[in-house]
């Protein structure tokens, strides 16, 4: 994140001249961008047209009229508010707890030195890279074994409960966050916490009042990234939740397909509605999003 800022600014050597190479370059880039945006624009176009229009004239035609009716219908028929709410119930706790736990581990391994520091970091880093399918079968079985009171989960175990999905998000995502946060915390001068220690600050105060505020930029970046990742999760909820009513919106899409039959306009509208929160986050917090990915990838 800071990387982009630290780059020495190149002094403007000469005035920008319109050369043929530049024209070709821009033409190429514009074309590439349009091709990248085409699938989404196509979905937007289809979603704005009526079924009568497209069934008579086909999709590849000039629209007779544009309407938002498909969005309203998808919203209602797909029961989207309910599924958005499910997603919210899963994403927000998972996100907050992941960042909290990861920052604790990162603080521990970057501020103090134990023999097993490196091993611990490796366990978290490697864990975040495992394909989910390596974990999923025993996890599914483990969830059936872990009994929880019925007020937490109607099934009496972690299976088929949103708590279970939140837990695996926390466990799985904390790998990545710990790694990124520990790298960042290592760049904070050691003398800072040292001074606080001399002044008698407890370990917790060093973490909560000194280190965390300094990590604000990286926490913002991670929060943005993790929001989209957890929101976009499909597999965990699909496998660990059996009751379609408890599914978050991304996994519920699968069932919506049946509800919408073969009305492609409706499918387009529904898909766009599901994509909307992540698209909004991307447009508003693009710097954080890109910064988080950059930090996470350049691991030294």
């Amino acid at each position: 994140m800071t990387a982009t800022l630290e780059r020495p600014s190149v002094p403007p050597v000469k005035k920008r001249v319109v050369t043929p190479t530049r024209v070709v370059l821009h033409a190429f880039l514009i074309l590439t961008c349009l091709m990248t945006l085409a699938p989404l624009l196509w979905a937007v176009y289809a979603s704005l047209r009526t079924y009568d229009d497209t069934s008579v004239n086909g999709y590849f035609s000039i629209a007779k009229s544009l309407t938002l009716a498909n969005f309203a219908k998808a919203w209602e028929v797909g029961n989207l508010p309910h599924f958005y709410w499910n997603t919210f119930l899963i994403t927000i706790p998972a996100l907050v707890i992941t960042l909290l736990l990861s920052s604790m581990v990162a603080f521990g391994v970057s501020r103090f030195s134990f023999k097993f520091n490196l091993l611990l970091l490796m366990v978290f880093t490697a864990g975040n890279l495992l394909p989910q399918q390596v974990i999923v079968t025993p996890l599914w079985r483990l969830y059936r074994l872990i009994e929880v009171p019925e007020w937490i989960s109607e099934s009496g175990s972690l299976i088929d409960s949103q708590i279970g999905v939140i837990l695996i998000h926390i466990a799985f995502q904390s790998g990545f966050c710990t790694f990124v946060l520990s790298n960042y915390m290592k760049t904070i001068p050691y003398e800072l916490t040292e001074a606080a220690r001399v002044d008698g600050a407890s370990v917790f105060r060093q973490y909560w009042q000194l280190t965390l505020p300094l990590c604000r930029p990286v926490l913002a970046a991670l929060a943005t990234l993790e929001f989209t990742w957890i929101y976009n999760d499909f597999l965990w909820a699909l496998v660990l939740i059996q009751d379609g009513d408890k599914m978050p919106v991304t996994s519920a899409l699968q069932n919506l397909k049946g509800t919408f039959f073969t009305d492609n306009n409706l499918i387009a509208a529904g898909s766009l509605l599901v994509a909307l929160p992540t698209l909004v986050v991307f447009f508003v917090l693009q710097r954080q999003f890109v910064g988080g990915l950059t930090l996470g990838s350049t691991k030294g």
Binding site: G108, T137, V239, A275
Partner: protein
């Protein structure tokens, strides 16, 4: 990038070697020790219990025969039987391996080249660079499940964009035809992956010391020569990250094929064979776990070298 490259400087102790810090840690007061222990312990337990224990569980179960519903006493230990069956009899296994391999090669070639090219083009002073970047990054925020839905609108023979543009008499069933559907899906997956690769290379290019390029230019190297002989080799860490990310992505591939046709009819993948045992019709935990172990083995093949690359530096400081 730079932030992390500075890390050794920030950490590199001028006087106190790490050992001294170790002593300090033991000199912590009782409460502090307890607090620190909890701060490290709780997250570690959560992570190990829900990630690593199940991963080891897959290994154990791969040597068993079990329907997964009954109790543990129903587990029958059959040694390497599942592996033998997978390699010799299971009809969906080899197609899945082949598809995963195609997936990997495709992702390693197409999005990597495209992403690198775009990064090189955008890593210079051009007007509107930010807008171009935004457009190219955008697919990254969409889930692969959603991408499956959106791209079906393009591929469908019934008024899809592609068939309309091609205008053939007989529309092509990009999703239904098992000879081509894998590639159709791969184009959609690559659509998303390219932005990520571009992001990684843009960060990498920004981290390359400009004086290196200047020196090469002074020595009379052309721009192309400078790129392939100087810039690209210097970006080795980024190349490794790109390779790791791509391999893992290829092994994880699941959502998009599951949304399209539940991973059948030409879209079989190893990940689908695993999940079929818990949410599909097959319920053979042992065989599914054996496939998971194969996935684990391949992924460790890139994870371990990667860990070595990342953490060996740490040891040196």
């Amino acid at each position: 990038m730079t932030a992390l490259q500075e890390k050794p400087k920030a950490v590199a102790p001028e006087g106190p070697p790490p050992r001294r810090r170790g002593k300090r840690a033991t000199a912590l007061a009782g409460t502090d020790k307890l607090v620190l222990g909890l701060m490290l312990g709780i997250p570690t337990i959560v992570h190990v219990l829900f990630v690593w224990i199940p991963a080891l569980g897959s290994i154990a179960l791969s040597f068993s025969r079990w329907n997964g519903i009954g109790g543990f006493e129903d587990i029958e230990w059959i040694g390497v039987g599942n592996y033998v069956e997978i390699f010799t009899e299971y009809p969906r296994f080899w197609p899945a391996v082949q598809h995963n391999l195609i997936w990997l090669v495709f992702l390693l070639v197409v999005p990597t080249c495209a992403g690198l090219l775009l990064a090189v083009l955008l890593d210079r002073e051009i007007k509107g660079s930010r807008i171009y970047q935004s457009a190219l990054y955008m697919p990254m925020v969409l889930s692969l499940a959603l991408i499956g839905f959106i791209w079906q609108l393009i591929y469908t023979p019934d008024g899809g964009l592609l068939n309309s543009v091609l205008g053939l008499d007989k529309p092509i069933d990009f999703i239904g035809d098992s000879d081509i559907n894998l590639y159709a899906v791969l184009v959609a997956a690559a659509w998303r992956h390219t932005g990520y690769i571009m992001l990684l290379y843009l960060a990498g290019l920004k981290g390359v010391d400009p004086s290196l390029k200047e020196a090469a230019a002074l020595d009379g190297a052309s721009a192309t020569q400078t790129f392939f002989r100087v810039t690209f080799p210097v970006m080795k860490p980024v190349n490794i990250v790109v390779a790791v990310v791509t391999v893992i992505e290829a092994l994880r591939a699941f959502d998009i094929v599951y949304v399209i046709n539940k991973g059948r009819n030409g879209l079989e993948l190893l990940s689908v064979l695993v999940t079929d045992n818990i949410i599909g019709e097959a319920s053979r935990i042992g065989r599914g776990s054996a496939v998971a172990v194969i996935l684990l083995t391949i992924s460790l093949g890139v994870i371990i070298p990667y860990l070595y690359q990342v953490f060996s530096k740490e040891n040196r400081t």
